[in-house]
Amino acid sequence: MKHEQIETNAGLLIVLTLIVISIGGLAEIVPLYFLDGTVEEVKVAGRDTVRPYTPLELRGRDIYQREGCYVCHSQMIRPFRDEALRYGHYSLAAESKYDHPFQWGSKRTGPDLARVGGKYSNQWHVQHLYDPRSVVPESIMPGYPWLLKNNLAYKDINGRMRALKAVGVPYSETQVEYDANVQRFGREAADLLDIHSAEHNLLSQAQSSNYDGNGDTITEMDALVAYLQVLGTMVDFSKFDEGHFAKYR
């Protein structure tokens, strides 16, 4: 094939360009689907401890994305000593396997949030999201006061869960799927992943934990804080030997 043929035929040029540039991607990505250790197995007493988000946490994740939190915050602790000392154990691939899209990132304007769950009280998160500089004077984070005012929209929660189910997140709709989840995550978690009781689960989690400190209404703040408080808490690293997760790499 002559140079001139390619250069004078736009269609051919496009096809050949696509083939050439996909080689690099394919060589790096395709093997990951076949390697055993790509997504680590995290089992304690035969149960997966990393589960998909509960309905309320899922709405919180949606708000996290809507507000663009990922623009400044990553959720990926890299295996470096400075990060380990500041943020905790490095992130596992398994910890974001139900995230669509994942919230990794290489740009941090604010701190990494992969293990922020449980680090601060609900009250702190509410105050900090409402007015960041009232608790961290040197912060450049903008405030999100409307989260406390906006009532949480949750009527469409079933549809949101079905959409994620379509891309492989194990929310259950049929009895068979539910039973599989009981096997995999235990009954308590399986109940939370059942699409049919999504609205009930969302309301009861918001009411019992009352993240925003206002028991009368369920706000977007409830959902976002619920999400932040679960980040990085699903793997109990004390149950695994030091260096256990290095064997997957």
Binding site: L35, S121, Q127
Partner: protein, 305 residues
């Protein structure tokens, strides 16, 4: 003219666009070409020593490049080169560098850490980083806290007890501070009376008769305040209930109010709405040595005896 004749001698790709537009076909500079071959050679060397080629469900792990380190519980681990093991090795190295200091601290009493310069220097430098990463978000950089939200650690008033054992417990397991809301169980007058009594305890000039009636509510069935705050109103460290007789305020911002009406509003607000505060436990995030160092530091912030 000279330039033009030079152009003529250079080869072109042979195309001509728009009649006279041509493209030169010069050879690549030598240094660039050899650099390029060099990267190819480097890649082959890299494949030998580092994890590289996938095959089946595994991959080539590289040779002669293993990482060996000793875990915290004394096991010797050898793995092929990878970034996770590299981190484990670095952490082990740092641990062993600090080990002699950590060992000294482990066996030392708090009083000993305080008087021994070597130990306190180590504890302080480590505590500063730990405090900034874990505590400062709430209790603020200098430990002054936020009135209404997070207790001041830099004074010598301790809601949950200020001895080392109690502070250590607070850091390790966290605390839940709770006071019920009284807006439904007390009426307007009663709320005002209890408010006056509470302010009178710390020497504020209030309506003496109202305060006297407030005292009865405080210690009686209606309020039941004494159950947590004690009948002397000095609080209980086991419950984290505040001492109301000193001039330290952690929730109602009394010192920040200019006049007595403002102070009344601040106290009343707390009685009406109650308190619900939580400090997270750090056992899962910090190890025993780190908790001990922070305990020492926090006690020192508050002017430890």
């Amino acid at each position: 003219m000279k330039k033009d004749s030079h152009k003529q001698s250079v080869q072109t790709t042979g195309h001509a666009w728009d009649g006279d537009l041509q493209e030169f076909n010069n050879p690549l500079p030598r240094w660039w070409l050899w650099g390029f071959y060099g990267t190819a050679v480097f890649a082959v060397i890299y494949w030998v020593f580092f994890p590289a080629w996938p095959f089946g469900t595994g991959f080539t792990t590289g040779v002669l490049n293993d990482i060996t380190y000793t875990t915290a519980d004394g096991r010797e681990v050898t793995r092929h080169w990878n970034t996770r093991s590299l981190l484990d090795k670095e952490m082990a190295q740092a641990r062993s560098d600090q080990q002699q200091f950590l060992d000294e601290l482990k066996g030392a009493s708090y009083a000993d850490i305080r008087t021994d310069q070597r130990k306190s220097a180590f504890a302080y430098s480590m505590a500063k980083v730990l405090y900034a990463d874990n505590c400062a978000a709430c209790h603020q950089a200098g430990g002054a806290g936020k009135v209404g939200m997070y207790p001041n650690l830099a004074d010598d008033a301790w809601l949950w007890g200020g001895n080392f054992a109690r502070i250590e417990e607070t850091i390790r397991d966290g605390r839940n501070g709770y006071m019920p809301a009284f807006r439904k169980s007390l009426d307007e007058t009663q709320l005002a009376e209890v408010t006056d009594y509470v302010l009178s305890l710390s020497g504020h000039a209030v309506d003496v008769q109202a305060a006297a009636r407030g005292k009865d509510i405080f210690n009686g069935q209606d309020g039941g305040c004494h159950l947590c705050h004690t009948s002397e109103a000095t609080g209980m460290v086991s419950l984290g209930s505040a001492n109301l007789t000193d001039s330290v305020w952690t929730i109602a911002d009394v010192p920040g109010q200019g006049d007595i009406e403002g102070k009344r509003r601040a106290v009343r607000e707390v009685i009406e709405h109650g308190v619900s505060r939580q400090m997270p436990g750090w056992a899962g995030r910090l190890n025993e040595a780190e908790i001990k160092i922070l305990t020492f530091y926090v006690r020192e912030l508050g002017g430890g005896a």
